[in-house]
């Protein structure tokens, strides 16, 4: 849509002009250019580059200090900054992705069980569903979950990747190579 400069000039004058008590200087001339198409892929790239294929783990937390059930799926997840730190304090969860004895990814998350109820003081909410999006760089066998230094659970994720690779044989994740546990046999 082409917008006339005259209309825009009037619109500019309609906007209040004081900031920090200082009178703003108004333009003596305004011009609006006609619209130019932009390539959608280029435009969206900065957003899409925030995401990658990964593992989403759901864990049932019970009594604040135990995990009794879990399930996992493959989905797009946010990329995590490389300098994500695991503090190891008793208020943080840590999630270690394990593969053949190596640890390609570890991330931490807040424990939210201590709550401040206004006017009533602390409340402990100890049962819930914890969701962990993990941008694992490659298929992993296990996610080791800790709360502080306490080992809560090992979630076995190998089958999730095997199932995914059955349907997505051309994925780099699922291709041939030294990754025998996740290699498709076709």
């Amino acid at each position: 849509m082409k917008v006339s400069s005259l209309v825009m000039c009037l619109a500019a004058l309609a906007v209040p002009s004081r900031l920090w008590g200082i009178e703003a200087i108004k333009p003596v001339e305004v011009n609006t250019t006609p619209p130019v198409p932009v390539d959608s892929l280029d435009d969206n790239n900065s957003v899409i580059s925030n995401f990658t294929l990964g593992l989403v783990l759901e864990v049932n937390i019970v009594n604040g200090r135990a995990a009794d059930k879990y399930r996992s799926r493959i989905a797009m997840v946010p990329k995590v900054p490389l300098d994500t730190t695991v503090t190891g304090d008793s208020k943080s969860f840590s999630f270690e992705a394990l593969r053949s004895g190596e640890r390609p990814l570890t991330v931490s998350g807040s424990d939210e069980t201590v709550n401040a109820l206004e006017g009533s003081g602390p409340q402990l909410l100890e049962n819930g569903v914890l969701v962990v999006p993990l941008p694992v760089p490659q298929p992993v066998e296990v996610i080791r979950i800790r709360l502080g230094s306490v080992h809560l659970m090992d979630a076995i994720t190998k089958l999730t990747f095997l199932t995914f690779c059955e349907k997505h044989v051309f994925r780099a994740w699922c291709g041939p190579g030294p990754d025998l546990p996740f290699r498709h046999n076709r």
Binding site: M1, V3, M8, A11, A12, A14, V15, P16, R18, L19, I22, A24, I25, K26, P27, V28, E29, V30, N31, T32, P34, P35, P37, V38, D39, S40, D43, N44, S46, V47, I48, N50, F51, M76, P78, K79, V80, T84, D89, K91, F93, F95, G109, S110, D111, E112, V114, N115, A116, L117, G119, G121, P122, L125, N127, G128, V129, L130, V131, V132
Partner: protein, 398 residues
């Protein structure tokens, strides 16, 4: 549109990467923050420069807002907006040498952007550049600001794949570099007019916290450009007091949020997790809801406890302000030349905090309360740590 506009100091960078004077500044602003189809949105750029600037240009990019999954099939349902049918245009304000160095210059543009997207939701981005004079010549360098994005359209419409509605989004920056706050409409607002009431409450809250003048909004005032602000119309529920839940379909949105705020209407007492990436509730209909938001942010984003009660996190590994032991409090108080004070709960000394004479955000209600030195220290530590929300609770109960 409010005349008192927040100040956002953005370091200007020339196209070649060299910096302008430190005292140069540009502020970006748009109103309304939550823009509906049919609204005329006002974009305003204000600048103060130590050298003569001849023109300010607002660069605008508009397209139809869609889920990024529609751009690339692998990304289906990530809940973050992309756009299609994108166009860009510029609105230039020329000052003709009438603005002396140090003066406040202003350039504005107003439009209903959904007219460019045939009534569909629009995703709008804008940034500013300035051209300045060097002697008798005008520099061709583009002195540019950051880019801010927002949506305009019909946020009430149900979506098969829910999309987070950007209110103030630094779209060009990695999500991991920003603190992402999501504001959820609680179902107690109801349907129909309830959507409008929620948007009105949110608009008032965000206008106040983005306004730089008051001390109660210290985290926003020092680092407004740390924050992305999102609105989510469905999927968050404050069930009772601290019990909160979110529906599974918005997991992709929850995954990018550092803070999840359920805005509700009724008189349920507000409650938040004491965490560095957590969730809480804010009574949006309260007259001082902006203060409530900042107080609750003290809990769920900066790990602060109430300083009128005894509900600190009681874990010295976090940056705290409420201590179980007097000795832990004194470690914090002594370098500041302050004293520790007992917090009395049910007639018993239950915890300790650093004494403050003035009104402080975690104790005293009101827009004139401030963040104590220790509160501010915890804000700085979190901001410096690039704490990433590695996990989140979809539901939590006793």
């Amino acid at each position: 549109m409010r005349s008192a506009i927040k100040l956002i100091l953005i370091t200007l960078v020339t196209a070649s990467g060299s910096r302008l004077l430190a005292s140069d500044s540009i502020s970006l602003d748009h109103r309304p923050l939550v823009a509906l189809r049919g609204d005329v949105v006002h974009i305003k750029v204000s600048g103060i420069f130590q050298e003569t600037v001849d023109s300010l240009t607002i660069h605008i990019i508009v397209g139809r807002m869609i889920d990024c999954g529609e751009i690339k099939s692998d990304y289906k349902g990530i809940g973050i907006p992309c756009r299609t049918n994108v166009v860009t245009f510029e609105h230039e304000c020329k000052f003709g040498g009438v603005a002396p160095p140090g003066s406040l210059m202003e350039c504005s543009y107003s439009e209903d952007f959904t007219t460019r997207t045939e009534g569909w939701d629009a995703l709008v981005s804008y940034w500013a550049s300035a051209s300045r004079s060097t002697g008798n010549e005008t520099s061709q360098d583009a002195l540019s600001s950051s880019e801010v994005s927002f949506a305009q359209g019909n946020p009430d419409a149900p979506q098969a794949e829910p999309i987070a509605w950007p209110v103030w989004w630094y779209r060009r920056a990695p999500l991991s570099d920003k603190v992402d706050l999501g504001f959820f409409r609680d179902s107690d607002y109801g349907e129909g007019i309830g959507y409008e009431l929620f948007r009105q409450d949110l608009e008032v809250i965000l206008e106040k916290v983005l306004d730089a003048a008051a001390p109660f909004n210290y985290p926003m005032a020092i680092g407004h450009n740390y924050f992305n602000l999102w609105m989510i119309m469905r999927g968050g529920e404050l069930e009772q007091q601290c019990k909160r839940s979110f529906v599974k379909s918005i997991d992709p949105i929850l995954a990018i949020l550092d803070g999840r705020v359920i805005v509700h209407q009724d008189s349920t007492p507000d409650c938040s997790s004491i965490a560095q990436s957590g969730a809480g509730s804010v009574r949006g209909s309260a007259g001082d809801a902006a203060w409530i938001l900042m107080h609750e942010m003290g809990h769920f984003l900066y790990g602060q406890g109430d300083e009128y009660a005894c509900d600190g996190s009681f874990d010295t590994a976090l940056c705290e302000n409420v201590f179980k032991k007097r000795g832990d409090c004194e470690i914090q108080a002594q370098p500041k030349g302050a004293l520790c004070e007992a917090l009395v709960c049910n007639g018993v000394e239950g915890a300790w905090h650093v004494h403050n004479e003035g009104k402080i955000i975690m104790r005293d209600r009101g827009l004139d309360s401030d963040w104590s030195p220790l509160n501010r220290q915890c804000v700085s530590l979190r901001n410096a740590g690039r704490f990433w929300p590695g996990s989140f609770f979809r539901s939590l109960s006793k």
